[in-house]
Symmetry: D2
Subunit: 333 residues, 4 copies
């Protein structure tokens, strides 16, 4: 039997609960405490776990080895530093911060304290995208020429969220930027982004766009293109393709079943899985398993602080590119 | 929080461990004991659960409310009766027995004792097949005319197993017989089965076949056809189609990912999920959840003793049909 | 440039016009005459071609080398014999006759006269089914274990047609019987057929069924199963699968385009091609090209008189099997 | 019967022969003459058609009503003007010229002479892309937000061709620019193109790229993205997607058959149709039928001179964008 890792979760919103529920089903993990200043813990968690408003309950608990930071983005950097200084390994939801300088300071604190830090780019752990990556590493695709990512949400977020999220490139495309880096194993050098407000004028009034196409020049010479929409009425649309000298690997959407219904009106199948909770269910479990494995076996976590910084730098370049309608080079990490 | 149901598992072979692992991850279930006369419990279960050789450890434990019978088939009827007499709800793997008379006696004991009995036809709980059933109940298919089931294992079982299993119709097609009843909501009246030994002569020497096509006349007038093979080199092949006056609902195989790789040699995707443990993972959880829900809410279990008897009667008719090369009527339950 | 073959078409109904239009577009064929006692030739053919009521116009024309017999089934045998005796090569629509003895006499006349005879089993020339056959001959499938054919028409024929057609096994399944022989390269030894009247009671009153499942024991040991319906509301459903020791080759339906439309209601594509004129368009051209090639290069036509006889013998065995509800051996040709 | 249109073809290279063969199979068209200064007409055309070196044979033939211009691009404008002045309707392969000013002069001559002019953007007539367009016009997609085109050739052209073709945007992407206009019914306002030399360094030395991603700002607010490669080892890759407020319509590749082969190595299907001759076979016929219909019924041809000019203007903007690495506005026609 593996030794048990004792864990605390800071932040009990949507993603905090997803992680919390997964932790409760992991044989060699014990979820000891959950904190959130705003949440009423009456209905959750469904097990005997300590709950509190303040993160100190977790940060000061000597038994807790690892912390999951699931609180709002503006608190990520500070909590990561405090947890690291307390000698706890940190799993932090993305982004660490919207300011690269702030991220760099946090990464320095983490490096000094010698704890593990993993950033929550869960999609790398999705079986379908992992299979595409394998097609690349095993040579099925050959030298990479083109990468295409389609990433569309089923519905636009509240405008209040858009106002503080940093905009589409930092709250949504950031996952796709990381995916391009994951699939190619190469860095982004230059970005050209074009956006439009086609779904909700209020998003435009908040200074953001809801539709975007981003072209990325990669260090290995390949060209990547990411296409985003805040609202696909048929559900979460998450596809990728990597095309190269030896062929192409393409990932289609996941669906709730494999049934086709043929009638006088045509041939139908059900819509793709609704949103990230459904689509990336397995990846949320797998990223935590990888995090705990890196703790137990003293390995480098598969998605580190540098990955967290890099995707923010790309997102900032994309924002500037769209604002100035010109290609923009990505800042050196 | 739901009240906790205390459970014991009799039999710790392959399917017993599948159920045991699932029970350990269920929030409102406590797996208290596992028994098996032959198994060394050193490596399993991975949690503090009592283990013993003899089923009495479970049958005589007053705290245990529900028993999962995962032992070899010849013990199913006896253990079901003993558990029922001890006032415990029973989840029994299929078949209850190969002898209909013996099954009828067991069902009488269960009825007398007033406990719940669910039989392990897990495939009814598979999301894809459940979606096909919904296409039927919601009228997408209309009055049913034809049902087609393709059911092929990735590799043939050991000949030793074939000798005691009751033959292909009772150890393999039995699931498909239940699936026909589930999908149509109708009973099987008459069976014509043709078999062949094409994969392994030793299976023929053991008195069984490895390839079979079975035609079923349904009470609602529809015709069903089941086609079986003990060995599909590309993996587990589990497809169904229900065709009717308003259309057709068809279930394709589940695959480990949604990736397509195009190269100079063609367009490829990975093979279907390997075997029942992978393919029906979700259904094994769902059937137990339904079983515990029927206990907690005092409902009829969704797959009862009569379903277990019926599929055996169809299997026996199929065996006789093949032996005598003529259509055979299914015996009245 | 190939030398030109001069051709006549007897019968200008639906299939006669299909062939006639194809002949008009073939560079090395000259359609010289079309005859039909009932058709008004005002609107067809769209080119300067002689037309007449009586077949003698064709049979007595010394310049005409090849005749396509597209008249009603009861005239096929007689016209084939007369054309053969006139020294003309014959392409005859299936079936040659419903009476095997009559077919045998016709084949003897053809043999004596030394002309070519091809029977209109066009589906062998369909690119998709030809690809499945190639998967068999090139060893992708290995030794054949199972063959599955799904063959459903988009709408039931008029009851008047059913009354004279010889029934479903001789007017519809006959194509599938030939397909089984084509795909496997093996003969049918025994047949078990079950039918039902589920679509139109008038078909039942006419002594036929509209839904059928036929199991075939093949000489090579394989089992084949054909499943027919007179009416699939979503259109012509024509699929086959050959499963063997090394794998499976499966043919899906052809569709008018490759477009998928995703909306809030699900993911849709258009229905399969409507009926045989649309679905088998290419095969109608290819079978004629093969016929003319066999004339020009003095080869055996790819589908001969023996194939025409064999499928009728299987159809008769299926009819008897259904009537007597027992497996029936196919008569020796 | 339709009246017959008498036609001449100038240029008997690859595309000239495709059109010539199609003309020979059209019932109401008579191909009277073909001219080409370089071609030896021994093996083609396969029918009694006049042949000559000089176009005057066609341009001065009073009986010829319509001319297909299939000669090299630098001759298109001049021959179009001469044919128009001779009162003949013109079908001209794309592009009319690489110089917009020259195209404008040609269009003025055509307008003065009152003949029909159709430009050879055949892909608009492909059944699959026409179905996507219909999804747009019939409201299945709703207001358009995004258009994606994947367009990859199976092999790179000779470098000699690249040197005179005007580059990838004018010889290859030009079809995709027209497709964007066709699918959206909207004009392109601004272009950003990024290219790379990843397949053949000689293409780079010739001043061109072999891999490109082009982002287009449409007048209706939508964003389109085209992704090109000169070499997809798995064959011709021609896919489009139109995404909008109500859903998405997506066209997959056409394949030579619908067969799937499952073996121990995975699930395979054949590669897409090899190249444009195979893939767009039906569209080459359909565009000519539309051209002749516009002559016979005195209609506007479905793809006119303005369409030919527009796609060149977009291509020139793309070339400049790539050269200067900045977004470039498309010149007013």
């Amino acid at each position: 039997m593996n030794r048990t890792t004792v864990v605390g979760v800071i932040g009990a919103g949507r993603i905090g609960r997803v992680h919390g529920n997964n932790l409760l089903r992991m044989p060699s993990v014990r979820l000891k405490a959950v904190t959130d200043p705003y949440v009423d813990f009456a209905s959750w968690p469904p097990a005997p776990v300590a709950t509190a408003k303040e993160p100190e309950t977790i940060l000061e608990d000597q038994e807790i080895e690892a912390v999951l930071i699931c609180s709002p983005t503006p608190t990520h950097a500070d909590l990561t530093e405090r947890a690291a200084r307390a000698g706890k390994h940190v799993f932090c939801e993305k982004p660490i911060d919207l300011d690269p300088e702030r991220i760099r300071r946090t990464l320095a604190v983490v490096a000094d304290s010698g704890v593990k830090l993993q950033v929550g780019f869960n999609r790398r752990f999705d079986p379908t995208f992992a299979r595409v990556r394998r097609a690349v590493t095993e040579g099925e695709v050959g030298e990479i020429h083109l990468v295409k990512i389609t990433s569309r949400d089923p519905e636009a977020p509240p405008v209040a969220y858009v106002k503080t999220s940093g905009g589409i490139f930092l709250d949504m495309t950031i996952h796709d930027f990381d995916m391009v880096r994951f699939l190619t194993g190469s860095e982004v050098e230059e970005v050209y982004a074009r956006g439009a407000v086609l779904i909700d004028p209020a998003i435009g009034e908040a200074g953001d766009v809801d539709t975007a196409v981003t072209t990325l020049k990669m260090a290995n010479g390949a060209i990547a293109v990411i296409e985003n929409s805040r609202q696909a009425v048929y559900g979460y649309d998450q596809r990728v393709e990597v095309f190269g000298a030896a062929g192409s690997a393409e990932a289609a959407n996941e669906t709730p079943n494999r049934v086709t219904v043929s009638t006088g009106a045509g041939v139908r199948s059900d819509k793709p899985l609704y949103f990230f909770l459904e689509r990336y269910q397995a990846s949320f479990v797998a990223e935590l398993e990888a995090f705990f494995a890196s703790i137990r076996d003293d390995l480098q976590p598969p998605v580190g602080g540098a990955d967290g910084l890099m995707s923010v730098l790309i997102g900032l370049a994309a924002s500037r590119s769209m604002a100035e309608n010109r290609p923009v080079r990505v800042e050196t990490p």
